[in-house]
Symmetry: C2
Subunit: 220 residues, 2 copies
């Protein structure tokens, strides 16, 4: 299905930061550069909007969302509120297969370099994906697809905001935080794990706090 490809491409482009926040997503331009008709671009855009990766202004088209600092803090707070509870459930219910997958995901994350030389200041695509998989795997023991869908939505919003944050906590010990998370989870220490995760999310939020809103930008 063509619209699926266009949707995937659009989603990746936005998440990768190819467009600046506030940039207009013009159906005609996208159609030409993708070699498809307006209809499929439009369908892809509607899906992207539904996922929160773009805004729609009635009769004024589509645009990359301009995340405010306030919005970012709300997303971070929502994650702090929900994810530790789900992690508790996951640790109580996860089976041996889950344990194995947690180990595997942590191993991959630990062995993936966070920064690609050519990518400048941003995290590498491989690390971002490994990071996502590790956090998701931690929660997958809960066995509830609805809760995991909720995680997916919040993670997407969170990553989009992170992509556009100007600052990064310089003294952040990602590796240690993730290792403590893995250890607590595999030790079935739900209380400690939930606490570590909450602190992890708080630190991430603090690292991004204070970055100013981005002004609506011009053409890509």
């Amino acid at each position: 299905m063509l619209s699926e490809q266009v949707y995937a491409h659009l989603r990746d482009a936005i998440m990768r930061g190819d467009y600046a926040p506030g940039d207009a997503l013009k159906p005609q331009d996208l159609a030409k550069e993708q070699g498809v008709s307006l209809a499929v671009v439009r369908e892809a855009l509607v899906r992207v909007v539904g996922e929160g990766l773009a805004d729609r202004l009635p009769n004024r088209g589509f645009a990359v969302p301009a995340f405010s600092d306030r919005r970012w803090q709300e997303i971070a707070e929502a994650r702090r509120t929900i994810e530790p509870v789900v992690l508790r459930m996951s640790i109580e219910r996860g089976d041996v297969d889950w344990e194995a997958r947690v180990r595997a995901a942590h191993h991959r994350l630990a062995r993936t370099p966070a920064y690609a030389p050519e990518q400048g200041a941003y995290y590498s695509g491989a690390w971002s994906e490994a990071h996502r998989v590790f956090h998701r795997t931690l929660l997958e023991g809960c066995g509830n697809p609805v809760l995991l869908e909720t995680f997916d939505r919040m993670w997407t919003a969170s990553e989009l905001a992170r992509r556009w944050s100007a600052y990064r906590a310089p003294d952040r010990d990602h590796v240690g935080e993730h290792r403590r998370l893995e250890e607590a989870a595999l030790a079935r220490d739900a209380g400690t794990a939930a606490g570590v995760l909450a602190r992890h999310l708080t630190l991430t939020a603090a690292g991004l706090a204070g970055c100013t809103d981005h002004e609506p930008a011009q053409e890509a």
Copy 2:
């Protein structure tokens, strides 16, 4: 915008139960009966799918989702997991305006008859809406739009499943449960309120448990 109207109509129709679970949503039929072109119907359908109110089968069109008993239990569990936590936050943070809105929402719910004579066994539309507003208002004190969006999504899924449940708990004391919720919330007793809400959701889940899956149905 035409697609907005068609979207709203489609959403209401599905939530109202105009289509049976599994029914195909044929763009051509919808276009003719709504007096619009395929494109706008298609856009509305894509949005509906994004909200979880319809399934999309590649190259096989759109259909009303056939909720399984398992799926329903997962939704109910997700609500039990998340909503009490948000309610705690809401009770800790809500201001006087929030208190007033809780009172108002409860009053409206208590004074709205649950069953409309002409609607048969189903809850009336007015009661369903008052019910939703009461539950949402309880959580709105948290002040976090992201958490409230999460509630909205789960509520929608929950109501859709409820619409198609064959059984209803006969001895259910809705009125008392809601009154206790309101009292605990306004007394700022977060622990009690969270407990009452968890029990409320458990009872709802139990009331719908055991209803068999609906077979994929034929034309509307």
